[in-house]
C-alpha cells in the first residue's frame, strides 16, 4: 500500500509523438483513481509508465514516496490487470494466480494457502484446476484480478479490465472490482474510456485529452463544475447541451439563436466574471435534467425547441429537440461517428414521464438557470468567478 505521485510526467516517443504532456497527479494511499479520456488521450501510456513498461521521458514518478523512474516493474511492487487479461493459457487457474508467488520462491504450502484465499475472495474455488480456455469471460476477468491481488502489491494498475465483457456482466464486475479494492485497500489506478465507469467507480477521476490533464476531482464535482468545455461534454450521459450564445449588453439576458433567455441577478452574483462578457459570445451548457418541460410545475426562463425524437424510459422521457442556435461539439469528447450524426442545434432534455409530447411538437422548457454553465468561447474554460 502506497501513495503514487506523478510530477510533470512527459512521454515523447521515438517518432516524436508527444503522448503525455506535463502530467501531475497525486493518488492517495488506498485511493481509487480513474484515468479517463477518449482513445488516444495518453491514459494507457501514463499507466504503462507507472507500471514501468514504458520509459518516462521526463518528470518524476514516486511510489510510496520513493522515486521510481528507474526501477524495474518488479521493484515497483505493482500488479497490473490487462484489457485482454493476459492469462497464461497453458497453466491452470491456480498456477496462473500463483505464478508471481512461485517466482518469489514462496514455500509451496504458503503459496497454496494464498492462492486458495484469493480464489475464495473471487469465487473461483471450484475452477482452480481448469485452464483459462475453459472459463467464461467473467471468470477469466476474475482470474486476472486474482493474479493481481494474491501478490499483495502496493499499487493496482488496471487497463480497461472490463471492456471485453458484455454490458450486463460489466455492471456486475464494476461493483465487484470496487468491493475487492475497498476490501484490500490498495491504491488503484484504473484506466477506462467509458465515462460511466469513471463516474461510478472512482474516488476521484482524472480527465485527459491529447495527453494533457483537463481536471482531477471527485465524480460529482466533475459533473457539477467542469473546468472546461471538454470535461463538460465528456462527463455525463446523455452529454451536456452546449450552445453558442451571446450575452446581452446589460448581462441580464442571453441570446440563444433567435430566442432570448432572461438571466436573473443571482447568476451574475455567482459569476461576477460574466460581466466582462457583456455583448460578447459565450458558450452555455445545460445538462438534460436541467431542461424540464414547462408543464412540470417548473419555473425559469422559457426555451422552445422542436421535438425530433422521444425515448420513453418509463420513469422519464428523453427528448431530442432542435433550436436554431449553434450546437458546440467539444472536439474529441464525442467520437467522430457520433458527432457526424448530431444535427444543427440538436439538444437533449429529460422531462417527466407524464408530459404529453409527440414528435414535431414545439415544446417549451423551463430552463433551470442556476445550473447553467458558462464557458469562454475562445479558451473553452469555465466562467465561474
Amino acid at each position: 500500500m502506497a501513495p503514487v505521485s506523478l510530477e510533470k510526467i512527459n512521454k515523447v516517443y521515438e517518432n516524436g509523438f508527444h503522448a503525455v504532456k506535463d502530467l501531475s497527479v497525486n493518488i492517495a494511499d488506498g485511493e481509487f483513481m480513474v484515468l479517463v479520456g477518449p482513445s488516444g488521450c495518453g491514459k494507457t501510456t501514463a499507466l504503462r509508465m507507472v507500471a514501468g513498461l514504458e520509459d518516462i521521458t521526463s518528470g518524476i514518478l514516486r511510489i510510496g514516496g520513493k522515486e521510481a523512474n528507474d526501477e524495474t516493474p518488479k521493484q515497483r511492487d505493482i500488479a497490473m490487470v490487462f484489457q485482454n487479461y493476459a492469462l497464461y493459457p497453458h497453466m491452470t487457474v491456480a498456477a496462473n494466480i500463483g505464478f508471481a508467488l512461485k517466482l518469489r520462491k514462496l514455500p509451496k504450502a504458503e503459496l497454496d494457502a494464498k492462492v486458495k484465499e484469493a480464489a475464495e475472495i473471487l469465487g473461483l474455488t471450484d475452477w482452480l484446476d481448469r485452464k483459462p480456455g475453459q472459463l467464461s469471460g467473467g471468470q477469466r476477468q476474475r482470474v486476472a484480478m486474482g493474479r493481481a491481488i494474491v501478490r499483495e502489491p502496493s499499487v493496482f494498475l488496471m487497463d480497461e479490465p472490463l471492456s471485453n465483457l458484455d454490458a450486463k456482466l460489466r455492471v456486475q464486475m464494476r461493483a465487484e472490482v470496487q468491493r475487492i479494492q475497498r476490501r484490500i485497500g490498495v491504491s488503484t489506478i484504473y484506466v477506462t474510456h467509458d465515462q460511466v465507469e469513471a463516474m461510478t467507480m472512482g474516488d476521484r477521476v482524472t480527465v485527459l485529452r491529447e495527453g494533457v490533464l483537463q481536471q482531477v476531482d471527485t465524480p460529482q464535482v466533475l459533473y457539477d463544475n467542469p473546468d472546461n468545455i471538454f470535461v463538460a461534454a465528456f462527463i455525463g450521459s446523455p452529454s451536456m447541451n452546449l450552445y453558442d450564445a451571446t450575452l446581452g449588453t446589460d448581462a441580464r439576458s442571453l441570446k440563444l439563436g433567435s430566442q432570448e433567455v432572461d438571466l436573473p441577478e443571482s447568476v451574475l452574483v455567482a459569476r461576477p466574471a460574466l460581466r466582462g462578457y457583456t455583448g460578447k459570445k459565450v458558450v452555455v451548457g445545460l445538462r438534460p435534467e436541467h431542461l424540464p418541460a414547462e408543464s412540470d410545475n417548473a419555473t425559469g426562463p422559457k426555451l422552445v425547441g422542436e421535438v425530433e425524437l422521444i425515448e420513453a424510459l418509463g420513469s422519464e422521457q428523453v427528448v431530442h429537440f432542435t433550436i436554431d442556435a449553434n450546437r458546440v461539439l467539444a472536439e474529441g469528447a464525442v467520437d467522430k461517428d457520433e458527432a457526424a450524426t448530431v444535427k444543427h442545434g440538436e439538444g437533449v432534455a429529460r422531462i417527466g414521464a407524464k408530459v404529453p409530447v409527440k414528435v414535431g411538437d414545439k415544446l417549451t422548457f423551463a430552463v433551470s438557470i442556476e445550473d447553467m454553465k458558462f464557458f469562454d468561447e475562445s479558451t473553452g474554460l469555465a466562467i465561474r468567478t
Binding site: 514501468g52 513498461l53 516493474p73 518488479k74 505493482i78 490487462f82 484489457q83 485482454n84
Partner: protein
C-alpha cells in the same frame, strides 16, 4: 437445398466420398507397392508386384548386412537431429527477436531470409564444395549439418516469428511485472505457447534434412558419412540394380518421418494454420 442430409446408401456412396477414395488410393498405391515389393524374396526376378507372397525379410537383412544401410541410417539420424536442433535453437532466438524486440532493419532482414529460403541449392553447390574442401570439412558430419542449418533456418525463423507474433504481448509484460527474467519469460510463458510452431518448424526441418540428396552426395562421398538418400541411390553396381533391397531400405527410411508426423500431427496442423492466419 443442395446441402440436405444424405440418406440411405447415398450416405456412403456419393461423389464426395468417391473423390476422396480415388485421391487416397492414388497416394497409397505406390506406397503399398513399395512395401509389398520390399517383402518379396530377394531372389525373385522382375520388378515390383502387388502380391508379395511368399513373404520374406531377405531384402531387409540384405540392406543392413550387405549394403551398410545401418551406417547410412545412423549418419542420417546424426545429421538430421543435429541440424534440426540447431535450426530450432537459432530459429527461436531469431524469430523472437524479429517478432518482438525493437530493432532496426527487421523488414529487410525478413525479406532476405525469405529469398534465401527459396534459393536453389544447385546454384551454390560448387562454391560450397570449394569452401568445405578448404575448411577440410569434406566427409564429416559438420559438412552437412552446417549447410542444412543455413538452408533450412530461414523458413523456420518465419514460422516461429509468425507464431510469436500471435502471442499477446501482455503475457510477457505480465511476466515482467510478476518479476520473471527475460529468459524465464521466454522459457515458461512464451515457448509453451509456441510449441505447435516449434513442432511444425522441427518436422519440416527434419524431413528436409532427412531427404536432402545433392549436398549429401557432393560433400560426403565416403561410405562412412553417406546419408540414406545417397546410400540408397548407390546401392548396386554397374550391372545390377537390387530393387528389392532398395525398396526395403526406402521403407525403413520412411518410418521415422511417419512416426514423427503421426505423433505430432495435431500440432503440425494447428502450427500451419495459425501461422497462415496471423502472419
Amino acid at each position: 437445398m443442395r446441402n440436405r442430409k444424405r440418406v440411405g446408401w447415398h450416405r456412403y456412396i456419393n461423389g464426395v466420398n468417391l473423390a476422396v477414395l480415388i485421391t487416397v488410393l492414388f497416394i497409397l498405391i505406390p506406397l503399398y507397392w513399395l512395401i509389398a515389393s520390399s517383402f518379396r524374396s530377394p531372389n525373385s526376378f522382375g520388378t515390383a508386384t502387388l502380391n508379395p507372397a511368399p513373404l520374406s525379410g531377405g531384402n531387409y537383412s540384405n540392406a543392413f548386412v550387405a549394403y551398410d544401410f545401418g551406417i547410412y541410417f545412423r549418419n542420417s539420424l546424426i545429421v538430421s537431429i543435429a541440424a534440426t536442433a540447431l535450426v530450432l535453437i537459432l530459429g527461436t532466438l531469431a524469430g523472437y527477436a524479429l517478432g518482438r524486440l525493437p530493432m532496426r532493419g527487421k523488414f529487410p532482414t525478413l525479406v532476405i531470409l525469405l529469398m534465401i529460403s527459396v534459393f536453389p541449392e544447385v546454384a551454390v553447390i560448387a562454391p560450397l564444395y570449394l569452401l568445405m574442401r578448404n575448411l577440410h570439412l569434406l566427409n564429416s558430419y559438420p559438412a552437412l549439418i552446417i549447410p542444412y542449418t543455413a538452408f533450412f533456418l530461414p523458413f523456420a525463423i518465419w514460422i516461429l516469428r509468425n507464431y510469436f507474433l500471435g502471442i499477446p504481448k501482455e503475457m510477457e509484460e505480465t511476466g515482467r511485472i510478476d518479476g520473471a527474467s527475460p529468459l524465464r519469460t521466454v522459457w515458461t510463458i512464451v515457448l509453451p505457447q509456441a510449441l505447435p510452431g516449434l513442432f511444425t518448424a522441427g518436422i519440416f526441418t527434419f524431413t528436409a534434412c532427412w531427404t536432402e540428396f545433392l549436398m549429401a552426395l557432393t560433400f560426403n562421398s565416403s561410405n562412412n558419412y553417406r546419408t540414406i538418400p545417397v546410400g540408397i541411390a548407390e546401392f548396386g553396381g554397374n550391372f545390377n540394380v537390387p530393387y528389392g533391397t532398395i525398396f526395403a531400405a526406402s521403407v525403413v527410411a520412411v518410418v521415422p518421418i511417419g512416426i514423427l508426423v503421426f505423433i505430432f500431427r495435431k500440432f503440425v496442423i494447428s502450427g500451419l494454420t495459425s501461422g497462415a492466419v496471423k502472419g
